[in-house]
Structures are given as C-alpha cells and as structure tokens.
Assembly symmetry: C2
Homo-oligomer: 125 residues x 2
C-alpha cells in the first residue's frame, strides 16, 4: 500500500473488489491460506502475468500481504482492510437512513431541511 488512495482506504478496496478475476484470486487465496502467483495462475483462466498485476492491485488495497521465501513470493489474504471497509459501508448505510428519516420528518412538520447536520459515517469521498 504505497499511496494513490491515501485519502480513503475504502476506495482502494472497492476498486480492487470490483473485478471478478480479483475476487476469484482472493477466494483461492483464502482457501489455500497462501499461494504464489504461478500457483494461482494454474487454476485460473488467465496468465501468470495477469495474476501478478491483480495481486499488485490487491496489495495496494491492503487485501493481501506478500512474503518472499527464497525465489518465490508467497501471497496471503489480509482481513483488516476488508473488515474496515465493511464497517465503513455499514456506517454509511446507517448515516443515509438517519438522514433520510430526518428529512422525511421535517417535510411532514412543514419545516425546511437543514443542509448538512450529519455525521457518524462521514461522506463517501
């Protein structure tokens, strides 16, 4: 995880998980516990090089960690980034719900809707 997404770690995770091949790689990785790019490529319909690129993306998102063992690089799934993004999304859903409810109440009581008294979950971007 170098930079590129220093603002919002969730963004990197979302981009990483948006690709089906990347999800398959993570799946295979979680099943094995750890694997190399070459090993993963053997059971996927893509080249080793493609897997390498995907692993780089997953690494930047903090979804995998790489350990060098001799001549091979072993990748292992990392859960913290995933769990954090899950919490972020849940908090976002919650914030939306509360805000929509507040707007609805204010509309019924005839008052104007305050522009942004929100928090707890924060903005998306």
């Amino acid at each position: 995880m170098t930079a590129e997404y220093e603002d919002d770690p969730a963004a990197a995770v979302l981009v990483a998980l948006a690709d089906p091949t990347r999800r398959r790689i993570l799946d295979a990785l979680a099943a094995r516990g750890a694997a190399t790019a070459t090993t993963l490529a053997a059971e996927l319909p893509v080249t080793r090089q493609a897997v390498v690129k995907h692993l780089a993306v997953l690494d930047q998102a903090g979804l995998v960690t790489a350990h060098r063992v001799g001549r091979e690089v072993r990748y292992r799934p990392a859960t913290p980034a995933l769990a954090a993004t899950a919490r972020w999304m849940a908090g976002l859903a919650d914030a939306w719900d509360r805000r929509l409810l507040a707007i609805k109440h204010l509309a019924e009581s005839g008052g104007a809707v305050p522009p942004e008294g929100d928090e707890g979950g924060g903005a998306v971007e």
Copy 2:
C-alpha cells in the same frame, strides 16, 4: 436492478461504488434526500448525460430508486443494497479469518490442510 448481476448482488454494488463520481452522486443524493439528474449535474463537474449514465448503474445495483413526477425523474438513495453488501463483506472477512486460523492450527499440529470445509460467508464469486 434488471439482471446482468443476478448471481451476486454484491458484485453490482462493488462495481457501482468503485467509481468516485458515482460516490459523489450518492453523497449528494443522501444529503438532499432526493434529486433529479439535472439538479445533480449542476453541482458536479460533469454533464447531465454523464450523471444519467451513472444513475443507471446505481439503479441496477439497487443503490437508488427512481420515481417519475410529471416531466422530471426524482432519484432517491436506497440503503438495503448497501447494508446487504456491508454484511456480505463482514461475513467474508470472518470466513477468511476462521479459515486462516484453522490452517495455522493444522500446520502446527503437523496435519494436512482440508480443502474446503468452510461456510458462513460463502465464496466471493
């Protein structure tokens, strides 16, 4: 949400949330409670047409719902899809954690690693 992602609803949400402009649209939508494509385009650095396309993607992912009111179409954020995806991700993180722990234990006790006795969170794809 027509089809296209009938297999895994989370995939559509992930793809939808992967784009920064789409996240901004959702953000603006949650702040207002509801808005039209034209209104949203006014405060975003893109054309109304671009917003329309993004709203279509968000709609397919179940992240917004559209209501026609006379000549205008009002979009409103929908939380269920978001909350569901959040739960899916949390469950996935959990499943990985358990599996990795099981592998570690088996490795320490010298046993072989069973191929896939897992559940509760399910596969990624």
